[in-house]
Structures are given as structure tokens and as C-alpha cells.
């Protein structure tokens, strides 16, 4: 029997009840939200279950929603069942003042650097991560640049000497 989104949904609600919220299917991919203290439990269930078998972590990334009070930061997991070729998307939301989320490194080695990257850009603190430090940015950086409060440089600013780059300055 092919593994359908309805079936995964049924199994998840049967196991966890109404902890699983915001179930949607954008572009055919099952998407749901779990509370942040439940992410490992749900992931472990999806991994271990002999029918669900979501044993491949495709992608892990952060998102910042500045307008959602109390749930500003999100971690998005894309998991893949390679046997039945089904993907799903799991989201965990967190308060920006307390961005602690359990790490997935105990289940997936691939989560290691991806969580470091998410920490690097969004400041999500992965509890239990073996080596949580910046990966793409310099170690001395003291802010999390992908958060929405840090806009990109204003392209019309004139106070900067951009002459060497062919913009502004005496080059016209």
C-alpha cells in the first residue's frame, strides 16, 4: 500500500493527539507544526515506525517571522521516506527571547552542520548539539544576520566610498 499523506496524518494524530497542529498540504507536501519540546519525539516516531520510515533528513533551516508575537523563529525540517518516496515538512516555532530547540543530531548526523548554520544565521540554540558554533560567518560576529531586523544595505546610500567597485564616488 502506498504511503499517503492521509495515512501519515492519521498515524500522527493517533499517536500524539492534538499536539500536531496546522496540518496543511502546500504543493502536495504534508506540512505540520509540533510544539518545540516535542520535535525529537515526533521525529523519533517518524524514524522508527516500520511503516512511516522517515529516515532521511533532506533539509533543515530557520525562518524568522517578526510579526508573530511569541513564535518568531521557526525551524523547518524536510524529511524523506526513501523507500516509499514520500516527503514531509515539520515546523517548530519558538519565542525569540528563548530560542531553545532540541537538536536532531542524535538521529541524523547530517543535522550537525545544518543546525550550526541555523544557529549562525538565526540564533536558534540547539540544546544538546555537540559543537554549536558559527559555521559560515566569522566567530566574532555578535548578531544573527538573517533575522529580519537586519536589512540589507540601502542601495541609495551615498556616505560610503564605493569608488573601487565602480559605484558612486568620482566614477559616474
Amino acid at each position: 500500500m502506498a504511503l499517503t499523506n492521509e495515512y501519515i496524518r492519521e498515524r500522527l494524530t493517533e499517536k500524539f493527539g492534538d499536539v500536531i497542529t496546522n496540518i496543511e498540504e502546500p504543493a502536495g507536501m504534508l506540512t505540520f507544526e509540533v510544539p518545540k519540546d516535542m520535535n525529537l519525539k515526533v521525529m523519533q516516531f517518524l524514524y522508527d515506525d516500520t511503516e512511516l520510515r522517515f529516515r532521511f533528513l533532506t533539509d533543515l533551516c530557520g525562518v524568522h517571522y517578526p510579526d508573530q508575537k511569541g513564535r518568531e523563529l521557526a525551524v523547518v525540517y524536510h524529511m524523506h521516506n526513501l523507500v516509499d518516496n514520500v516527503r514531509l515538512r515539520m515546523k517548530v516555532f519558538s519565542d525569540i527571547s528563548d530560542p531553545d530547540v532540541f537538536t536532531a543530531t542524535s538521529l541524523f548526523e547530517s543535522a550537525n552542520w545544518q543546525e550550526r548554520e541555523t544557529y549562525d544565521f538565526y540564533g536558534i540554540n540547539f540544546v544538546g548539539h555537540p559543537n554549536l558554533k558559527r559555521i559560515l560567518n566569522v566567530d566574532e560576529m555578535d548578531y544573527f544576520p538573517m533575522r529580519k531586523e537586519y536589512p540589507l544595505e540601502d542601495q541609495s546610500r551615498i556616505d560610503k566610498d564605493d569608488e573601487m567597485f565602480g559605484r558612486g564616488g568620482s566614477v559616474s
Binding site: 533532506t58 533539509d59 548526523e109 547530517s110
Partner: protein
């Protein structure tokens, strides 16, 4: 993998006050010629054997994901060029396919086949450079020169289609910027005729070469289970024996219309990775040939179709822009990013040169994506390098690095 033997050198009496450390710390990179890209490995070596290693990446981080949050869709295509620059057309098309998925654009069959031709050509370009570099790192330079000639020909084909060679910015949402010229088709035909001869020659140089086999077999190996846990995709995963290929698992761009095999290895070592890539080049050649024949079957007006009919996203012809008001309006709106995207989130992945290249796009209906995340295959599987090289010889670690097909541009985004 052999055990590391810690021998206490009893015959050496260390001078007073010296530390008892028996290993040497060695920096491989960030600008070492053997790393083929800017990344650093801090190795702890005991003689020639690597005891442990730590990787540092991010030297060429260019904040693509942040920049993408201000740019309209078309302006993001050049950013994708600079991820895996050995096969930029695959990145471009992966991005356009993601946009098409979000915008609900469907493409005509001829466009799909033309895209398949370009994507498979760039897969060959990607694999041939990776495999020949494995050869260079193991001491055989001539294979590199044999195949490089054909990368040049592939780049000429790209040039004929889109005007540029390395960072191609090829195609548009819905198709191509122009129809393929006769010269492009002639060059593809020439490539199909000549490349198999060279590839055969290349294989003769390496496949059963005693020195090459001794150098690559049994080094840098990984089991299928560990490879999956580490998030391996593409040829590296298939070399470990898992037949996962995005082209077959979730076909895009009409890949279901083509007959091809997925070559797999068994031990996941450097030799298997090399062999899998070689076999994939043969498969790609066969796909290009099939696609070429399918494209030739379109006759009359069908043969002029090179884009979907989506005026909201596809730039109008230049001569129309100068003469027709509607075309001018659309041109302006598309260029300035005045087209609001539908709200939603999509994940789309393509089989890139070195694994599953994914695009996760969240749109809040504005002119630019709210969030765009690139799933960069080599960023994910490079984590395994520490495990792959533990206890290996330093010279084998260099081959392992090149056979993983690490592209610094993709790793650092």
C-alpha cells in the same frame, strides 16, 4: 580502515619542559592547491596518518539567502549560477522549476526536452571535471587534458544557447530566452559523436589502471547506512549502493520519458565514486541522444516552441518591446519586479551535479521571496569528511576530498 598505532618512542628522550604531544597539527588549506577551493582542514597527523580533523568552511560566504530576500525572481537566477559553478545550468533550471511550481506554470514538451539536453550536458561537464581531478590528484594528468577539450565544447553549446559559458544565467521562467540555433544543434551532434570516443579513452586510462586502483580502492569508503545518516545524495550516495536519484524518484522536466539506468557502487570508496560518475556520463550521453531525437521530431510550428505562454513571467521579445505598448508594460513590470507572487511555500529539488539540489521558497505575496533556502548537497555531505579520513593516509585524504566533488561556492552559498 586500519587502527592507529600509538607508539611511544622510548629511544627518544625529550628535552626538559617539552610537551609530550606525539602528533603534529597540519593546516590543509584554506588556499592549498590540493583542496581545489577555499576551505580549511586542520589535521592532527601521526606521521602520515590522520588522527582527527576539523573542517572550517565559509571563506567565500556571500549571503545569497539574505540577498535573495530583496530580489525579484529573475534576479535570483544569477545567484544560483554561483552555487555549483561547474554545472550552473542545472542550478538555473532548478530555480526556474521552483518558480514554475510556485506560480503554477506548465511547460511544453519541447521545452522540457531542450532543458534535459542542457542539464545532462552540464552534468557531464561536472562529472568530467571531478573525475579528471581525481586523476590529477592521484598523479595522472593526461586524462584531465583529454576530457577538458570536451568541457570546452559543452561551454560552446551553452554560449550558443544563452551567450555565456561558466555562470550561464540560462533560461527563463517557462522556457528559454531564444530558440536553439542550428549551430547549437550541430555542436550537440558533434559532441554526441566525438565525446564517447574520448570518454572510452579516458576510461581505458583509469578503470583498470593498477596504480589508480591501488590508490583509490578501499580509501574514503562509507557504508550505505552512514551515508544516508550523513545526508549523502547524488553520485556519492549511489557509490555506497543506494539507488536514489531525484530524476527517477520525483521526475521533473519530463525525465519519465527517458530510458536510463542508475549506476550504483557497493563500497562507497573513491574508486566506486569514480566509476559511478563515469557510468553516469554514459547514461547522460544516452539521455541527450534520446532528447535530441525527440526534439528533432517536432516539425513546423511545433519546432518553434521554446517557452510556455506566460506573459506575466516571461519577458516579451525585444522588438515587441520597442513597438508594442503591452509588451513594453510587461517588460517593465517583469524587470522591476512589479509582479506579486502568489502566497505559499514550495520545496523543489533537482538532481544536481553532486547531489540533490533543493530550493525551499516561502512567499508572502511580495515582490521578493520571504525566505529562500538552498539545500546545498556538498555542504551537507562534507560533514562526513572527518569520519571518511580518520586513520587514512594524508595523500589518500586529498583524493577523498576531490572525489567527493566539493565545490566551495556551493558549500558557502
Amino acid at each position: 580502515m586500519s587502527e592507529i598505532i600509538h607508539q611511544q618512542p622510548h629511544h627518544i628522550s625529550l628535552p626538559e619542559g617539552s610537551i609530550g604531544k606525539q602528533t603534529t597539527t597540519l593546516n590543509l588549506g584554506p588556499t592549498h592547491p590540493a583542496t581545489h577551493g577555499v576551505f580549511q582542514n586542520i589535521l592532527e597527523v601521526d606521521g602520515e596518518r590522520i588522527v582527527s580533523s576539523e573542517q572550517t568552511v565559509g571563506y567565500i560566504h556571500r549571503a545569497f539567502e539574505k540577498i535573495a530576500e530583496r530580489r525579484p525572481l529573475y534576479q535570483i537566477t544569477p545567484l544560483t549560477d554561483r552555487l555549483n559553478y561547474c554545472s550552473s545550468p542545472i542550478n538555473n533550471m532548478g530555480w526556474h522549476l521552483t518558480c514554475e511550481k510556485l506560480l503554477g506554470v506548465s511547460t511544453p514538451k519541447r521545452v522540457d526536452y531542450l532543458r534535459v539536453i542542457i542539464m545532462e550536458l552540464s552534468r557531464i561537464a561536472d562529472h568530467l571535471i571531478c573525475n579528471s581531478i581525481v586523476g590529477v590528484d592521484s598523479g595522472a594528468f593526461s586524462g584531465f587534458l583529454y576530457v577538458m577539450q570536451y568541457r570546452e565544447l559543452i561551454y560552446e553549446i551553452f554560449e550558443e544557447v544563452c551567450g555565456s559559458r561558466l555562470t550561464t544565467n540560462i533560461g527563463r521562467i517557462g522556457g528559454f530566452e531564444r530558440n536553439f540555433s542550428n549551430a547549437a544543434f550541430e555542436k550537440i551532434e558533434k559532441f554526441l559523436k566525438e565525446y564517447p570516443v574520448t570518454l572510452k579513452e579516458f576510461e581505458n586510462l583509469f578503470n583498470r589502471n593498477r596504480i589508480f586502483m591501488e590508490r583509490t580502492m578501499g580509501t574514503g569508503g562509507i557504508s550505505a547506512e552512514r551515508a544516508l545518516n550523513y545526508g549523502f545524495t547524488g553520485p556519492n550516495l549511489r557509490a555506497a549502493g543506494v539507488d536514489y536519484d531525484v530524476r527517477v524518484a520525483s521526475p521533473y522536466c519530463s525525465y519519465q520519458d527517458f530510458e536510463f539506468d542508475i549506476p550504483v557502487g557497493s563500497t562507497g570508496d573513491n574508486y566506486d565514486r569514480f566509476m559511478v560518475r563515469n557510468q553516469e556520463m554514459w547514461q547522460s550521453l544516452s539521455i541527450i541522444e534520446q532528447a535530441f531525437r525527440k526534439v528533432q521530431e517536432f516539425k513546423g510550428t511545433d519546432a518553434d516552441v521554446y517557452h510556455a505562454d506566460v506573459p506575466e513571467y516571461y519577458l516579451p521579445k525585444k522588438e515587441d518591446v520597442y513597438t508594442k505598448m503591452e509588451a513594453l508594460i510587461w517588460h517593465f513590470k517583469i524587470i522591476m519586479g512589479e509582479i506579486d507572487m502568489p502566497k505559499g511555500e514550495v520545496y523543489h529539488s533537482v538532481e544536481g551535479g553532486n547531489g540533490e539540489l533543493g530550493f525551499y521558497l516561502i512567499s508572502d505575496g511580495g515582490r521578493a521571496p520571504f525566505r529562500l533556502h538552498f539545500r546545498r548537497p556538498c555542504f551537507i555531505y562534507y560533514q562526513a569528511y572527518s569520519e571518511l579520513t580518520k586513520g587514512a593516509l594524508l595523500s589518500d585524504a586529498v583524493i577523498t576530498m576531490s572525489s567527493l566533488n566539493l565545490i566551495a561556492g556551493e558549500m558557502d552559498a
